[in-house]
């Protein structure tokens, strides 16, 4: 016959409320609480003072988009294929393509993006546009400070996306 002696778990309980044991427990727990809060004073705050200090972002952080040019020729990488707009789940990218001509060459391909707009007030920063792009013309940057005074100002045009973005967000160093 099997016995269950080994399965018995001794439960150690503190004194029940009431009586001398309860008073002792309440007193002890109060002191423990006071010790805890005092230790927090000594530890100091963990607050990051945001506008002055910023939490560094990881390299793969998906912030505001950037459009790129070829470094050697200065031509735009975007050929106006609209794959990013097709991939966009929030439908916030608008691309209008136009033909390159030999005397008016803007991108490396046959066509270029005459209009390239991203509505940042709708963008969900999923990064699908970056994945969809066959020429790595659009990537996600590190800037997350995108607030503005009017919705109109949140529609980023091609010039704004091509421009060298302000580096206002620190990048997390290796191993940080």
């Amino acid at each position: 016959m099997r016995t269950y002696d080994d399965d018995v778990v001794e439960v150690v309980r503190g004194p029940q409320p009431g009586g001398a044991g309860g008073v002792y427990r309440a007193f002890g727990e109060t002191l423990r609480g006071l010790k805890t809060t005092f230790a927090r004073i000594l530890e100091g705050p963990v607050t990051v003072q945001y506008p002055e200090e910023k939490v560094p972002v990881y390299p793969r952080f998906r912030g505001r988009h950037k459009l790129h040019r070829f470094e050697d020729t200065g031509l735009e990488k975007c050929v106006g294929c609209s794959l990013c707009a097709a991939a966009c789940p929030a439908d916030c990218i608008r691309v209008v393509a136009a033909e390159n001509t030999p005397e008016h060459r803007i991108s490396a391909g046959e066509r270029y993006a005459a209009v390239y707009e991203i509505n940042m007030s709708r963008c969900i920063f999923c990064g699908y546009c970056e994945v969809a792009c066959p020429f790595d013309a659009i990537t996600m940057g590190h800037d997350y400070e995108l607030s503005d005074y009017s919705r109109r100002d949140l529609v980023f045009t091609k010039e704004m996306l091509l421009a060298e973005p302000l580096e206002r967000t620190p990048l997390r160093a290796e191993g940080e």
Binding site: T30, G33, L34, T36, T37, F38, R40, I41, E43, G44, P45, V46, T47, Q49
Partner: protein, 340 residues
């Protein structure tokens, strides 16, 4: 017999005026400091900074708060009882400030060739004076809560009434031990009687009971049921705004300072220092202020630590634990004083 016959020394009128102004000014300036200290310390206890935007280290924050409150429009609910509604905060602040008058910051010293006591007035019934004003203070809360014509205010006022009555008994009894031992009610003489041994040592039970009851009397956590921001939206001061709210707020912190000052005077030897240190008389007020701030730190520390009691816990703790303990303490002290 003149009203000032209780003074056992002569003070010219200008000394009386000057010292009351100085005490008033200094202690009222402590309120913003305590406000700031509380918010900063609570912040640190919660691993954050607390206010740090207005002025250097946020030190001007209380000034900004007070100015904001004073600049706001005064309004009152239609259901409120006008005169009482306006009167109640005034009662609160009046009693809190009046209790200050008897807090001794030092003994009689020589100022410009005249003997001046470093306190508002040394009344022979010192502690009774305190309790008298403590009893009036509770009208401020109850009238304010009732006259607001709001159910939250009324509930808060009822709680305040029950709580203050319950804990005032224990508080009074806890001080009996000190009075028996010192054999006087005058706060100055009680401090002088503590030379050599502060009363927090022989009267440790009375001291603990006094501090706990003091938390309850000032409506501080864990006994802040009259305000109970979570359930009663600030209780008796729900309907108050602008400068009247500022008065209530001010009175709350003044009460904290007064209770701290009384505890420092009755149990921690007032202006006396331990280990036979005997500084010159001008240091005495600073010793008292340091002790007051020590108590204020305790108030804030406890607020940052303990949750609010339930109403039945509050009542049973007051009547079943504190009151018997305080009675026992007074009884044992009385027997010891008589037999030795």
């Amino acid at each position: 017999m003149t009203p000032f016959a209780a003074l056992d020394y002569y003070e010219p009128w200008w000394a009386q005026l000057a010292k009351s102004l100085v005490i008033f000014a200094v202690v009222l300036q402590m309120v913003p400091i305590v406000l700031m200290m509380e918010r900063k310390l609570l912040g640190r206890m919660q691993a954050r900074y607390g206010p740090n935007r207005v002025g250097p280290f946020g030190m001007v924050q209380p000034v900004a708060d007070i100015l904001k409150l004073l600049a706001k429009e005064r309004s009152r609910p239609e259901s409120s009882v006008g005169p009482l509604y306006a009167l109640a905060p005034a009662i609160s602040i009046l009693t809190a400030v009046a209790a200050l008058a008897i807090i001794p910051f030092g003994n009689v010293v020589d100022v410009f060739g005249t003997d001046v006591g470093l306190y508002g007035i040394d009344v022979e019934i010192g502690i009774l004076y305190l309790f008298a004003f403590g009893a009036i203070a509770f009208y401020g809360l109850v009238l304010g809560g009732w006259a607001s014509g709001s159910k939250y205010s009324f509930l808060g006022a009822m709680r305040a009434a029950a709580q203050l009555i319950s804990y005032e008994v224990a508080m009074g009894l806890s001080l009996l031990g000190v009075i028996f031992t010192a054999g006087t009610l005058s706060l100055v003489e009680i401090v002088e009687a503590q030379r050599g041994m502060w009363y927090c040592v022989p009267q440790f039970a009375g001291f603990a009971i006094f501090v706990i009851a003091g938390f309850a009397e000032t409506n501080r956590t864990p006994f802040d049921l009259p305000e109970a921001d979570a359930e009663l939206v600030q209780g008796y001061m729900t309907e108050y705004g602008a400068s009247r709210f500022a008065l209530y707020y001010f009175a709350e912190y003044m009460n904290m300072i007064v209770i701290s000052a009384i505890a420092a005077t009755l149990f921690l030897g007032g202006w006396l220092l331990p280990f036979g240190l005997d500084p010159p008389a001008w240091v005495h007020p600073f010793v008292v202020l340091a002790k007051i701030f020590g108590f204020l730190f305790l108030f804030i520390w406890v607020r940052g630590t303990l949750p609010r009691l339930r109403y039945d816990q509050l009542m049973s703790f007051g009547w079943k634990v504190l009151l018997p303990l305080a009675t026992l303490n007074a009884l044992v002290t009385a027997i010891l004083v008589v037999t030795t």
